[in-house]
């Protein structure tokens, strides 16, 4: 590089240095504006990255579980008769030259927590499985296999149990082998040697599956023939895709969380946009001066971008810490929801990757750029010779409102197209976002029209000024009011949906759980003993067994439930659609009933035929009823019990429903516990089961409610920051009125009244928008996400609460700016006139 190039580069750096110092001096002179911008960026990043942390955490757990036995859906051999099969079959297969590996799975309770236990034989495990890589290496095979052995556990699960490596907690009168941390394992899982698992689960010489390594076509054919002839069809090949199903089933849950995170992010960006807009406006004359002094527009934009980058780094980093805290706060509830709804185990300790930090900062930068784009563009196009007009901002706002109107119409069009396309959940969210943003963008136009109408109808000069000035103030507050509208309507919409769901769910569960006592056996032997025991009890009117198995229909997991014909079902089971004598037809064995979500997924209607794959080939059944099955992510089909047992011999007995006089239930439960040594989760009365189910339901919406509350808080901050930023720029409008004889105190009260009026009008508009949102959630999003459609209930009291909350938010946001105005010195007000010379 020659001397002149170095000198030129040095000059440019020098220019940039002084430019940055000058630009940053604005923020030092306007610390509240800086704090607003910082808060907006920080909150937007925190809420978005918090949700992403939760999703990442959950998905990482699913991935670890899904790839435990292979990179894809590894095949396995399972019993055609029941949950387990004799170990002898494994020995025969190995002797037959098949490289299968034994597995025994079950659940145990350790330190009051229900964990999955897997027994493996590390020597025969296929080498490409995650569990093989976990159990091999580190020279630990000998320690794992030789007494006392080892129990592999994920570090976060060990921490959640409150235990340390090397501990040997007691399980069913046996000590677990010393706990040993293995980072690659999914949470909520213990891995032991197969012999240890057989002892701990009380299933000696039994296995639940045999893992099959990748097979060539010839090997597969040989295995199929071997199973057919040598094992007398006691085993069948199944793909282990339950964990893959988990990711698919939970997609909707995570998409809903993401949508809420995105909403909060957008509301946060409104703050950034408002603060940036005001900052650009206030610095308009500064930019002209800079250009006049010899700063080119390119260098000015570069300086503004560097300033933004610095803000992003600081606010983004603070936001990421906030996001971590939010995620840590919500994780227990989200994990409980996922466990309750989907049976998914999520690690309780947040583990965040470098990617999460970088993507969080990236989204913060992207958001800041979007929020500042308008200001940056205006700065670049800034005419150097324009004379600053006091009402230029208002004029630009009016032009902006026209543009917003056009964008709103385009968004409405996009929403209508998405609605018509009915192309899944994403289309549902596009419709939802389109409608919400459309009405949000139209808000300033609507409010402006209302205020203009009031202005025309006012009779006194003061009221005329009041309405006209409120309209002028609207331009500065519109972004904050838009954020408030989004937050309020989201609250109304989600609140209406949750409350409606609560009512529907409570009514549904009252009907569905009709038996007085529910009982679950540990195994078939115990179940048979229970049946015999119950038959001896005169107070028991009926013991209704439920059997189930799982199949795949069009790639979706489906639970098949078999029930005996009984009046309990006829009288209580809630049905959405039914044909005549549905229960009689079900009892006759030629028909089935289908859950609402499965009917939607498979596009099946009443009267359609469904073909269920069983051991005797496909079983055709006519659908005679569609029933609601809220909270169950999997589809379900009910058929006659004997039909289920005949076609799916591997079906398992589920819980019994016991009918008896409710007064006699406590004694029966106590006797059952004493006779069969049952714990509280194995025998439950109706009320306990209902409250347990409701508690899971309530927890499902904890994260939603928290996000809603945070979003409303963010909107409150947006309003506050806009009012603070506007406070000083309002002086030129207020000083003449003060000079004409209105006291500062009166002016402050009028300012307060104006803010409350705008917030109140916004809240009123939020009610129909919220109801529209609720309708979208209930009729489109829920149907697409979960497969069930709920009736839309209205809760006017909730609207009133939110209206008052909006007023209180506006009041709190106004207090400081209004007090500041009331205390503005006459000298400051007089300076307005001095500056006008």
């Amino acid at each position: 590089m020659n001397h002149s190039a170095i000198s030129r580069a040095r000059q440019r750096l020098n220019l940039l240095r002084w430019l940055l110092q000058t630009l940053s001096s604005h923020w030092l002179r306007h610390p509240v504006q800086l704090a607003t911008l910082f808060t907006g960026l920080m909150l937007a990043t925190a809420l978005w990255s918090g949700i992403q942390a939760l999703n990442t955490q959950a998905r990482s757990s699913y991935d670890r579980a899904a790839t435990l036995f292979g990179s894809d859906a590894t095949e396995r051999l399972i019993s055609t008769q029941g949950q387990t099969f004799p170990q002898q079959l494994y020995i025969e297969l190995r002797r037959g030259g098949f490289r299968v590996s034994p597995l025994l799975e079950g659940r145990i309770r350790v330190m009051q927590q229900n964990l999955q236990l897997i027994g493996i034989d590390p020597v025969t495990l296929p080498g490409d499985t995650r569990i093989a890589s976990v159990s091999s290496g580190q020279g630990s095979l000998n320690q794992f296999l030789t007494p006392p052995g080892q129990t592999y556990i994920a570090p976060e699960t060990l921490q959640e149990l409150g235990l340390a490596a090397g501990d040997q907690p007691l399980v069913a009168a046996h000590h677990l082998p010393p706990l040993t941390e293995r980072a690659g394992l999914p949470p909520g899982l213990l891995v032991v040697d197969i012999g240890v698992a057989q002892t701990l689960l009380g299933q000696p010489d039994l296995l639940s599956a045999l893992l099959i390594p990748e097979l060539s076509d010839d090997e597969r054919e040989r295995l199929t023939q071997y199973i057919k002839h040598s094992t007398k069809e006691e085993l069948r090949v199944a793909s282990s895709d339950e964990e893959a199903d988990l990711a698919r089933l939970t997609d909707s849950f995570h998409l809903n969380l993401t949508a809420l995170g995105l909403l909060a992010f957008v509301v946060g960006l409104f703050i950034v946009h408002a603060a940036m807009g005001i900052a650009f406006e206030q610095r308009r004359s500064l930019f002209r001066t800079l250009c006049a002094c010899g700063v080119s527009r390119g260098v000015l934009i570069l300086g503004l971008l560097l300033e933004l980058l610095l803000l992003v780094l600081l606010a983004g980093a603070a936001g990421m810490i906030g996001g971590y805290l939010i995620a840590a706060w919500l994780l227990p509830d989200v994990a409980a929801s996922l466990r309750g709804l989907y049976g998914a185990s999520i690690a309780g300790q947040l583990q965040l990757s470098l990617w999460w930090w970088l993507s969080g900062l990236g989204i913060c930068l992207l958001g800041a750029l979007i929020a500042s784009a308008q200001g940056l563009l205006q700065s670049y196009r800034l005419p150097l010779l324009s004379i600053a007009q006091p009402d230029a901002w208002l004029q630009r706002q009016q032009s902006l409102h026209r543009k917003q109107g056009v964008i709103a119409l385009l968004l409405l069009l996009a929403a209508l197209i998405a609605w018509q396309s009915q192309a899944g959940l994403i289309a549902g969210f596009i419709m939802l976002a389109g409608l919400m943003l459309c009405i949000t963008l139209l808000l300033p136009v609507l409010l402006g029209a209302l205020l203009q109408l009031a202005e025309r109808r006012s009779r006194s000069a003061f009221m005329f000024w009041f309405w006209a000035d409120t309209r002028q103030q609207l331009s500065g507050l519109s972004l904050a009011l838009m954020a408030l509208l989004l937050a309020l309507s989201a609250n109304i919409g989600v609140g209406t949906m949750v409350e409606g769901f609560r009512q529907t769910f409570t009514g549904w569960i009252d009907q569905r759980l009709a038996s007085e006592v529910y009982l679950r056996a540990e195994n078939e032997t115990q179940a048979l003993a229970m049946v015999e025991w119950l038959e001896q009890r005169p107070e028991v009117e009926a013991a209704l067994p439920g059997w189930s198995t799982e199949i795949q229909l069009q790639g979706w997991p489906v639970q098949l439930q078999g029930y005996r014909d009984h009046a309990t079902y006829r009288d209580n089971w809630p049905l959405l659609q039914r044909s005549d004598d549905a229960w009689t037809q079900l009892a006759q064995g030629s028909s089935a009933m289908i859950s609402e979500q499965l009917a939607r997924r498979l596009s099946l209607s009443l009267g359609d035929e469904v073909r269920l794959p069983g051991i005797q080939g496909d079983l055709p059944l006519r659908l005679v009823a569609i029933y609601p099955d809220y909270g169950n992510p999997k589809g379900q089909i009910i058929l006659n019990l004997s039909l289920l047992k005949a076609h799916w011999p591997e079906a398992q007995r589920g819980s019994f429903g016991i009918r008896l006089d409710p007064q006699a239930a406590p004694q029966l439960i106590s006797d059952l516990q004493a006779s069969f040594n049952l714990n509280a989760s194995q025998v439950m009365d109706q009320a306990s089961l209902k409250s347990w189910s409701t508690a899971i339901f309530e927890r499902t919406f904890t994260a939603t409610s928290a996000m809603n509350g945070l979003t409303l808080g963010v909107a409150g901050i947006a309003l506050f920051s806009s009012l603070i930023s506007l406070a000083s720029s309002r002086l030129p409008q207020l000083a003449p009125v003060w000079a004409l004889g209105i006291t500062r105190r009166q002016l402050a009260l009028v300012e307060l009244l104006k803010t409350l009026l705008l917030a109140g009008l916004t809240a009123l508009i939020a009610i129909p928008l919220g109801l529209l949102l609720a309708w979208c959630l209930v009729s489109v999003i829920n149907v697409q996400a979960f497969g069930w459609r709920l009736p839309l209930h209205l809760f006017p009291l909730q609207w009133l609460q939110l209206f008052l909350m909006a007023i209180i938010t506006a009041l709190l946001a106004s207090i400081w700016p209004v007090m500041k105005l009331a205390r503005t010195s006459p000298a400051t007000l007089l300076r307005v006139f001095a500056d006008e010379r």
Partner: protein
């Protein structure tokens, strides 16, 4: 140093194009001063803006030293203002977030020509010693204009362009500021092109030209 040849400028208006400057020819030598006089709307400020390369002519040429301004890129025009010009506006146009001391030094600093000694001289001459830590909003109009003059001269420019520098001040303050301004221009040995409608102020400069309806008379 500054040569203007057959300069024309029009602005579009709803009623059709409005000719603001018509066939302007002007020369300003190094170290000399020229007052550009005329009524409001005669095109004085437009001519000043064209010389400052804040705007571009429709036809005609402006040569500054060896450069033809209309051929410069936006970046080079900024470079020209930074290195060669000092601008004094009627509305002061100080940077509100910078203290007086930083406002004074601003243009010299971004031009890489900051000279602390000269800065001290300016501060002393302009009587700003006691005001250095104040912000512009804490100054009177006369004080603000003294800071603006200081800022324009801090980088020892080749040419100072002043647009009615005392237009916002009362007569007494205006006279004081003008006296200081002309003293410092002399000390800096730079050229001065000043727009004014005051014959009294214009008479203090070496040359005077009148603009009437966009033409020099």
């Amino acid at each position: 140093m500054l040569t203007i040849e057959t300069l024309n400028k029009q602005y579009p208006t709803p009623q059709g194009p409005l000719t603001v400057l018509r066939d302007i020819n002007l020369t300003l030598g190094a170290g000399s001063s020229l007052a550009l006089m005329g009524e409001s709307g005669s095109g004085k400020s437009t001519l000043l803006h064209l010389v400052a390369a804040l705007d571009t002519p429709d036809t005609g040429k402006i040569h500054f030293q060896t450069q033809e301004l209309s051929r410069l890129s936006e970046s080079d025009r900024a470079d020209y203002r930074r290195r060669h010009l000092g601008l004094v506006f009627q509305q002061f146009n100080l940077i509100p977030s910078l203290r007086v001391r930083d406002n004074l030094a601003f243009q010299a600093r971004i031009a890489g020509r900051f000279d602390p000694q000269w800065q001290q001289t300016l501060i002393k001459h302009l009587g700003l010693s006691a005001l250095l830590d104040r912000y512009p909003e804490q100054l009177s109009g006369g004080q603000q204009q003294r800071v603006a003059i200081g800022r324009a001269l801090a980088g020892k420019p080749d040419l100072v362009l002043a647009d009615e520098p005392t237009g916002s001040l009362d007569e007494k303050s205006g006279d004081q500021v003008m006296a200081l301004f002309l003293d410092l221009i002399q000390e800096t040995q730079c050229s001065l092109l000043m727009v004014t409608h005051s014959t009294r102020l214009a008479s203090q400069l070496q040359q005077q030209v009148h603009l009437v309806a966009g033409s020099l008379t």
